[in-house]
């Protein structure tokens, strides 16, 4: 697994935090709305406590609570339903991309140097979102509401009455039995009365007096006067205020799909959500169902038609932050670079007030409440056995005998074992364990979980047992001083039970994430990898992809880094990412894997990766990368079958074509390694150059010169060369004559196993006119007036064939000519005409000829230098007399001369 920002302890503590519900009156909501925040949102940045809290456990030992975070949410916040959740998670992942040009982390393993991002923020984002959106389950209490804040504004006519209403409302929601959600931890939920005072509007004295009244009524520890909005929003825009909400509310803006460019991609997310839903535990599956028809059943919508002024009604608007942010965002500019300014009415003093309020609430309200409940539960457990011994010995035997009357519950038995009613005595110990866990008393928590586990197992209540096992393992790990090693097998059993017995993938996944993180912290990378790989399955591509990627990171982080396993799992992850519609992540995975396979001779694998990279880059509109990747497949001595090569070539041509229409850049289509380049220039014969006859011609010329010079050949004699090739002396610029053809021979080699069709093949040249007779040259003329370029309309090369193309130029003007290269249309060698027209691209290939290696002076011998080669740069001279010889019988002619 990659490195994470949080430490393991922080991560686990933040995964399980005390939950607090909020019920807000309409006026109070209006006060917070001034800051474009709902009340829970207002509190969110301040929910981590900076100072330590203390409480006493049943044995009167002081427990220190450090760095506690509480979670404050609206009372009717619903966990997202399964499809919704998938969408959110997928968006969260696709938005979180590695920063451009992030510091590359080079890992050297054996002979590999790999560039790997050490952190994987998208995984952490996914994990955080996933854990936060876990629906509350029956078998555990960790994410059930422990307390409820009742918030009323001070400008209300009769605040106390309002409090009473809210309190009744809360009671009704919890106890009337009409609603299955939200879930509550303990029957007598802590109610905390908050009087919200708007300094800029309200009457401060009145607020104070109301607060005094409240203190009388609810006790000093049960209520609070929170003063905010010290300034009016309009004046506050000028100064630079820190915006603590930005990092929290960004996450809620994920709920708004319109904001993201990639929504089109990620909307296609998981095509197999249905399968996942089927795999769910019935109890969980009921959750969304309850909500589906819950226009009737949900507490806060029920009252809507009856009474508009009823507090819960506006609570339903206010607290449900998901719904609120959406219209708001849409109203504002739909781009998250310019979000609505938040907290404009708040000064830094107000921030402090809120912080104090949370501190006060936690230390005076919440922690004592938890302490009291732990004691009560402990007393219950002890008294039930009628023993005044210590808790642990008592609880062990607690359910040993009294089991028989409870057996009626067994009617509720489903596949996951039995389900207890919510107040069953068996659950009390689990409840106590959860409370202890939340206040970081891990030792007691572990003992309780351990006991609970035994009870549940003896009842065959598998879901409950798995939950207890999971938390027991976590609690054991978190105990300071590590009195016992981390029981990894507990986790394994829990995961297996969740997955196979309870068919609850969500819980199994949570368990797996926790366990993997813990194993990672203990550098047990191979165990973590096994765990992560086991958790991948067919039902969710996104999850599988993320877990496989983490497994790959595990392999590379091992003491002896397993590079190839890393690469292989990266490929698997990339595959799953692309199935999940996460194209960017997929591309990144494949690119990282390519580093391992590149240039190691594993041609098939390398081709496969390159092909995938090509495709992904293309769909992500990175045609340059796509072309590079595809070219790689084709130019390397490909070991693929002909069918594959056809497919590759077609894809390449297609991508290339699209790219060219994007940007009209003509680029070297260096598909073919033109074998030895051989250029025949200055062929002044009408017939084609014949290599075998050329010595004959040279001899003939020599004799003619000898005859002219009366028998002796002068030293300065140079045979006029008809053809230049790599063996001839190419130091001088060859001379060509105007109106006489120049022929260049280019050798093409087709490295592929499929035929290729080139069309419109011709030479590319540059011409500098230089008039040798007339000093004032006229340069503006049509191309064809300068040089006639012969175009070969069709040129097919069979598979793996080497073939020579003869390309002719006919200069009409004098000057300097430079043959630069060849241009052609490349197409698949298919007969299909309509398709063939589509599938060809214009390509260019430069002819660059390296001169002979120089080896004359010492300097040249010690270094590698090459001489110039001017084969392709002929000078076009004015008309010369052309001697035309017609030979009828060559042999006789020679004989005659001798």
């Amino acid at each position: 697994m990659a490195q994470c920002v949080q430490s393991v302890q922080e991560f686990i503590q933040d995964s399980f935090v005390p939950m607090v519900a909020v019920l807000c009156s309409e006026d109070a909501e209006r006060v917070t709305r001034k800051n474009s925040l709902s009340f829970p949102e207002l509190l969110r940045p301040f929910c981590r406590l900076t100072s330590e809290g203390h409480l006493r456990d049943p044995n009167n030992q002081v427990v220190v609570v450090k760095g506690l975070r509480i979670s404050v949410t609206g009372i009717n916040t619903r966990p997202p339903q399964t499809p919704e959740m998938h969408r959110l998670l997928s968006q969260a992942v696709s938005v979180c991309q590695p920063p451009e040009g992030s510091p590359a982390n080079v890992i050297t393993a054996g002979d590999y140097d790999l560039n790997i991002s050490a952190t994987t923020p998208w995984f952490e984002t996914y994990r955080e979102n996933f854990l936060q959106s876990m629906p509350a389950s029956e078998h555990e209490f960790l994410n059930h509401y422990l307390a409820c804040m009742l918030v009323v504004s001070s400008c209300e006519a009769v605040p106390t009455e309002q409090f009473l209403k809210l309190s009744q409302e809360q009671h009704r929601i919890q106890h009337s039995g009409e609603y299955t959600h939200p879930k509550w931890f303990i029957p007598n939920t802590l109610k905390y009365y908050v009087l919200l005072h708007d300094i800029s509007e309200g009457d401060e004295q009145r607020a104070d007096s109301v607060y005094e009244d409240m203190k009388q009524r609810y006790g000093t520890q049960g209520c609070y006067l929170l003063k905010i909005n010290s300034r009016s929003g309009s004046t506050g825009a000028d100064e630079q205020m820190p915006d603590p909400w930005s990092q929290y509310l960004h996450k809620t803006s994920i709920h708004n799909p319109e904001l993201y460019e990639e929504s089109a991609v990620s909307n296609a997310v998981e095509n197999n959500i249905g399968a996942e839903e089927d795999g769910l535990d019935p109890s969980i599956r009921d959750g969304p169902l309850v909500f589906a028809d819950d226009n009737e059943t949900h507490p806060l919508q029920l009252d809507q038609p009856t009474d508009a002024g009823y507090p819960s009604n506006n609570a339903s608007q206010s607290v449900n932050n998901v719904d609120m942010t959406r219209p708001q965002k849409q109203a504002s500019v739909t781009s998250h670079t310019t979000p609505t300014p938040r907290g404009t009415c708040l000064t830094l003093n107000d921030h402090d007030h809120i912080r104090q309020f949370i501190q006060e609430f936690t230390f005076r309200g919440l922690l004592p409440h938890i302490e009291k409940n732990i004691r009560q539960l402990n007393d219950q457990l002890v008294s039930r056995k009628g023993l005044s011994r210590s808790l642990f010995s008592a609880t062990k035997k607690l359910f040993g005998g009294g089991k028989v009357p409870e057996k009626s519950i067994a009617e509720l038995k489903n596949t996951a074992g039995l389900l207890y009613p919510s107040e069953a005595p068996e659950l009390q110990i689990r409840k106590m364990a959860d409370l202890c866990f939340l206040v970081q008393h891990y030792e007691l928590a572990y003992n309780c979980y351990h006991t609970a586990k035994k009870d549940f197992l003896s009842d065959q209540a598998m879901l409950y047992a798995a939950g207890a096992l999971e938390m027991a393992a976590v609690a054991a790990f978190l105990q300071s001083g590590a009195p016992r090693p981390y029981p990894a097998h507990y986790m394994d059993t829990a995961i297996q039970t969740y997955r196979d017995v309870c068919k609850n993938m969500l819980l199994a996944e949570r368990c797996c994430l926790l366990s993997a993180e813990i194993l990672k912290s203990q550098t047990k990378y191979s165990d973590a990898a096994t765990l992560l790989i086991k958790m991948t399955s067919e039902d969710s591509d996104l999850r599988s992809a993320l877990l496989l990627e983490q497994a790959a990171h595990c392999f590379i982080n091992m003491r002896g880094p397993m590079v190839r396993k890393f690469a292989f799992h990266m490929i698997l992850a990339g595959h799953r990412f692309s199935k999940a519609g996460q194209k960017r992540h997929a591309l990144r995975c494949y690119c990282q894997a390519l580093q391992v396979y590149k240039g190691k001779g594993w041609a098939l694998a390398e081709d496969h990766i390159n092909f995938t990279i090509g495709r992904q880059s293309f769909t992500l509109r990175q045609p340059d990368n796509a072309v590079a990747a595809f070219r790689h497949i084709l130019i390397n001595d490909s070991k693929q079958s002909a069918v594959q090569q056809t497919a590759f070539l077609r894809e390449y041509l297609y991508v290339y074509k699209v790219r060219n229409t994007h940007s009209c850049i003509m680029e070297a289509l260096t598909l073919f390694s033109t074998g030895e380049k051989q250029a025949a220039t200055h062929v002044s014969l009408d017939q084609e150059f014949d290599r075998d006859l050329s010595p004959l011609w040279r001899e003939l010329e020599e004799r003619v010169v000898a005859v002219v010079n009366r028998g002796a050949v002068p030293i300065t004699f140079q045979p006029s060369q008809c053809c230049l090739n790599s063996q001839t002396d190419n130091l001088r610029y060859p001379l060509a004559v105007v109106e006489e053809p120049i022929i260049v021979e280019v050798v093409f080699r087709n490295p592929l196993k499929i035929p290729l069709a080139l069309s419109a093949l011709c030479l590319l040249w540059k011409f500098t006119p230089k008039d040798f007779s007339d000093p004032q040259g006229n340069t503006t003329m049509a191309l064809n007036d300068i040089i006639d370029t012969q175009v070969i309309p069709e040129f097919t090369i069979s598979p793996e064939e080497t073939k020579v193309a003869r390309l002719k130029l006919l200069p009409h003007k004098t000057g300097e000519l430079h043959v630069l290269g060849v241009v052609y249309n490349l197409g698949t060698g298919e007969v299909d005409n309509s398709e063939g027209d589509l599938m060809c691209v214009r390509g260019q290939q430069n002819l660059e000829i390296q001169g002979p290696r120089l080896n004359m002076t010492k300097e040249e011998k010690t270094s590698v230098t090459y001489g110039p080669d001017h084969r392709l740069d002929p000078i076009i001279t004015p008309l010369m007399p052309l001697l035309e010889v017609a030979l009828t019988q060559a042999i006789n002619f020679f004989q005659f001369n001798t």
Partner: protein, 137 residues
């Protein structure tokens, strides 16, 4: 089934697999198994176990295949992948297959025209591998 030989620095020298349509998968499997081979080699060095033993045994089983490894003294690695369902091949058979493979590999190396590090192209070697593949499938 597949037979693969890689050089000291893990370049493939010879890969052959039947049936050919699953070739890519085989290549990935073999490549990944090299990690296990390297792990075993370094482990052997530490424990100072029997250095003569070139056969590494079952590297790891996957759902469909069993992967066996063998490493020569010059760190040339041989990997054989066989179908999990094939029960006729036991450890001993695999071991003898490796030994045969090693012998013919040595013959190839003795060829003065063979350039070490090049892919193996030898008819004799091909035929020996073919007979082994027939046996394995």
């Amino acid at each position: 089934a597949e037979i693969c030989i890689t050089s000291m620095d893990n370049y493939p020298l010879y890969i052959r697999s039947i049936p050919t349509q699953g070739e890519l998968k085989f290549h990935y499997t073999v490549h990944t198994s090299l990690d296990v081979v390297e792990e075993k080699i370094s482990g052997v060095g530490k424990a100072l176990a029997d250095q003569r033993e070139l056969y590494l045994g079952l590297l790891y089983p996957t759902e469909d295949y069993k992967v066996y490894g063998y490493v020569t003294n010059s760190k040339v690695k041989f990997v054989i992948v066989v179908d999990s369902s094939n029960t006729s091949l036991r450890d001993n058979e695999i071991r003898s297959m490796f030994r045969k493979l090693h012998n013919s590999f040595t013959d190839v190396m003795c060829n003065p025209f063979y350039n070490p590090g090049d892919p193996i192209q030898s008819k004799a070697f091909d035929s020996i591998v073919s007979t082994m593949m027939v046996q394995a499938c």
